[in-house]
């Protein structure tokens, strides 16, 4: 991955940035790394274990990262969509961050292992098959060799199709079971690159809009609100589901939202920040069917 390392080294040497946010190998697998010296750029890797969406670290409220100075961030296509989302929502100026895009052939669902595993239909992350942005277009640099298509597996769309085929009562029973394990730890929120609010609504207590107790009422209120707040904004990177310590399939909720937003507004989440998301745009022919 000398392309990646050379680009990072040059950016640090020239003083264009003070930190490069990328991935490194560790004894437990790949993980995020913050390189502040050109001499350390040989740590940077990109392979099938580089699962994490590093755009999450661009949240200006992560003060310990912001304190390092101007950042370059290594992004897969899905990560580039998150950077675009942050730009679209004016979280920082375009020239405040340098993006190094990597050509991606998919990643595994968990970043573990001393060696990058070969992707198979059993280990590939659910979001990867059918990915529409394996070579991010809106980045400052694009590095790496062209990669093959990710292997095909049961897609999120197929799993949603199965749920859609259920009766409302059956579907409710499915989600009741899944959400019953939630402890409201909010790891899903913390891992999300688009969940950047200074004060999340679940932490507002005057009044207490959402009960923070992990009983069915509180859990449904939290997950419905989380989903609504990400409608048309979620980039489908899957980090929320991966962060969940009790295995709630949040990716299904997020993909369903993407489908609904597409049906209603013709919007597909993109890595082009110039394309407005429905939440931030108005058109005279916007659907109004939901206003009763």
């Amino acid at each position: 991955m000398s392309d990646l390392q050379d680009t990072a080294r040059r950016l640090l040497d020239e003083g264009t940035v003070q930190v490069v946010i990328g991935w490194e190998a560790s004894r437990l697998g790949a993980r995020p790394v913050f390189v502040t010296s050109a001499d350390d750029c040989d740590k940077l890797i990109f392979d099938t274990r580089c699962v994490h969406n590093l755009a999450t670290f661009l949240n200006p409220r992560r003060v310990q990262v912001a304190a390092l100075g101007k950042a370059a961030v290594v992004v897969k296509g899905c990560d580039a969509k998150a950077v675009a989302g942050l730009l679209r929502e004016a979280q920082f100026e375009r020239d405040a961050v340098v993006t190094i895009g990597v050509r991606c052939g998919g990643v595994v669902s968990e970043p573990s292992g001393l060696e990058p595993p070969e992707l198979t239909s059993a280990n590939v992350a659910a979001r990867c098959p059918g990915c529409d942005v394996r070579e991010p277009a809106s980045v400052d640099f694009l590095v790496g060799e062209a990669q093959p298509e990710p292997p095909v597996t049961t897609s999120l769309n197929e799993r949603i199709g199965e749920l859609d085929a259920l009766s409302p009562a059956e579907r409710f029973a499915f989600w009741t079971g899944e959400l019953s394990r939630c402890t409201q730890c909010y790891a899903c929120r913390q891992a999300c690159p688009l969940c950047y609010c200074e004060r999340c609504i679940v932490e507002k207590s005057q009044p207490q809009w959402i009960e923070t107790s992990p009983h069915p009422r509180g859990n449904f209120a939290w997950h419905l609100t989380r989903a609504q707040h990400l409608a048309g904004r979620c980039v489908g990177c899957g980090e929320c589901e991966r962060a969940c310590p009790v295995g709630i399939p949040l990716g299904l909720i997020n993909r369903k939202l993407q489908q609904v937003v597409h049906e209603l507004y013709g919007y597909t989440v993109t890595d082009d920040p110039a394309v407005p998301a429905p939440i931030g745009a108005y058109a005279t022919d916007d659907t109004q069917d939901f206003i009763k």
Binding site: E24, S26, R27, L28, G29, A30, R31, P32, V33, F34, V35, T36, S37, D40, K43, H52, T56, F57, R62, V63, Q64, V65, A67, L68, P111, A122, N123, F174, G177, E178, R181, T183, Q184, C185, Y186, A187, R189, Q190, A191, E203, Q208, E211, T212, S213, P214, H215, G218, E239, E241, R242, A243, P245, V246, G247, I248, P249, L252
Partner: protein
């Protein structure tokens, strides 16, 4: 609120004794805590079939055992044979039959803590009766007896550690009552992975700490050793399952079990070694060390580490109205890793960034708790490292601090200079933990 019955506390006293026995072995650095043998009361041989029959019997009687079981949820389907066993997850739950058991497999997703400190529980309910009068009804503490079978020793060992907090300045009725109502048979562990380090925190894969009985795999089943009154009582209540060891097989089974435990202990002992006194001193004197500024960078501040931790015990208290004039007070799991944990009403936050919050996690577990209670607030189960979405590696971080502490104690008169030199070297936070 009602005080726990005296009998309850007696049982807890017995539990704490086990901890003290372990503590005594700490005095000899390098000595392997082998309290499993020291406190054994009775030995039985329970075949795999007999254990399965016992689990089925308990379920049929409406008193299902809590045990590690395969998860069957949206992310991992236990019934799907194409999913490799290593990719399937396990969880503690009330099992409705032996077919669900996942004994001696991957560590359960959440620890056993949830059965003593549930993610949410009612403390009391309240009702306004008019005229300013408020009626409080404490949550009942008369929990039905429950048995845990096949718990991980690193989960069981956490309970006496948390007992000390729950009985420090206030005796927590709900915690104590659940502890008293529960009988735990743990299963000696033989499936460690790279995140495990129980032997570095005074334990081992077969520690008896917190257990009423210990199962160890032997030919055709398990050697079962009872370790408390509760353990003896459970064995006596199920004589058809707990077969007395036949004369002559006692020695062979015990030796085989001992070999299993020794081999597992040796394997995990290679993972990490800590000098706790030195570590504690370093933590006490390096509150502002630049090393901390390397640890918060990759941290999401989500506190998954605390959710899955068997010893993290912090909770938040909320009042929830259920109707006009009545409601409940609950406590819910909380974590020092979130920004709001220490946020003052004024807007000031004494732990201003994630570096300070991660430092708190390490300081509490390896300095503050040991200072107060003479143990560490960690059982080396490694869940925090496995569950961390950004692969924060606790064993690696502890090894790094241990090495720093060793470096300074090697040249005590140059400690100040060494610290300054370290500052220079660490100023560029290129990794999470530069060991």
């Amino acid at each position: 609120m009602s005080k726990p019955a005296k009998g309850d506390m007696k049982t807890d006293g017995a539990q704490l004794k086990t901890t003290k026995a372990t503590k005594a072995t700490k005095a000899k650095p390098g000595a392997k805590a082998n309290d499993a043998i020291a406190t054994v009361r009775q030995r039985f041989l329970v075949s795999a079939d007999a254990l399965a029959a016992l689990v089925d019997k308990l379920a049929a009687a409406g008193t299902p055992a809590v045990a590690p079981a395969w998860t069957a949820d949206g992310t991992t389907d236990a019934t799907d044979a194409t999913v490799a066993a290593t990719a399937r997850e396990t969880e503690y739950r009330s099992v409705s039959g032996a077919a669900e058991l996942a004994l001696g497999e991957r560590l359960p997703r959440l620890s056993l803590k949830q059965y003593f400190l549930p993610p949410t529980e009612v403390l009391f309910s309240y009702r306004r009766n008019g005229g300013g009068e408020v009626e409080l009804t404490p949550a009942p503490t008369d929990f039905a007896a429950q048995v845990v079978l096949g718990a991980r020793p690193c989960d069981t060992a956490a309970l006496p550690i948390v007992d000390k907090v729950m009985n420090w300045d206030y005796a927590d009725e709900l915690w104590n009552a659940r502890r008293a109502a529960t009988t735990i048979f743990s299963l000696a562990c033989g499936v460690e992975d790279d995140s495990c380090f129980c032997s570095a925190v005074f334990l081992d894969p077969a520690t008896a700490q917190g257990a009423d009985g210990l199962l160890t795999p032997v030919d055709d089943g398990y050697l079962v050793e009872t370790l408390s009154d509760k353990g003896d009582a459970f064995a006596a209540a199920h004589p058809e399952s707990f077969a007395a060891l036949a004369a002559g097989t006692d020695k062979a089974a015990t030796e085989q079990a001992e070999r299993f435990r020794a081999a597992a202990g040796e394997r995990v002992a290679g993972h990490l070694t800590l000098d706790h006194e030195r570590l504690r001193n370093w933590l006490e004197n390096h509150f502002d060390d630049p090393f901390w500024a390397t640890l918060g960078l990759r941290c999401n501040g989500c506190g998954v580490c605390a959710s899955v931790c068997p010893t993290c015990h912090c909770f938040d208290i909320v009042d929830e109205p259920e109707s006009v004039g009545r409601g409940v007070r609950r406590r819910n799991w909380d974590t020092c890793q979130t920004c709001v944990f220490t946020l003052h009403a004024s807007g000031h936050n004494p732990r201003a960034d994630q570096n300070a919050r991660y430092r708190q996690r390490i300081e509490h577990k390896f300095h503050v708790y040991p200072f107060k209670f003479g143990d560490v607030l960690c059982t080396g189960c490694g869940r925090c490292s496995r569950a961390c979405p950004t692969s924060q590696d606790l064993a690696e971080i502890l090894a790094a601090i241990n090495a720093k502490a060793a470096g300074e104690s090697a040249a005590p008169d140059k400690a100040g200079k060494a610290s300054k030199a370290a500052k220079g070297a660490d100023a560029a936070p290129t990794t999470g933990a530069d060991s």
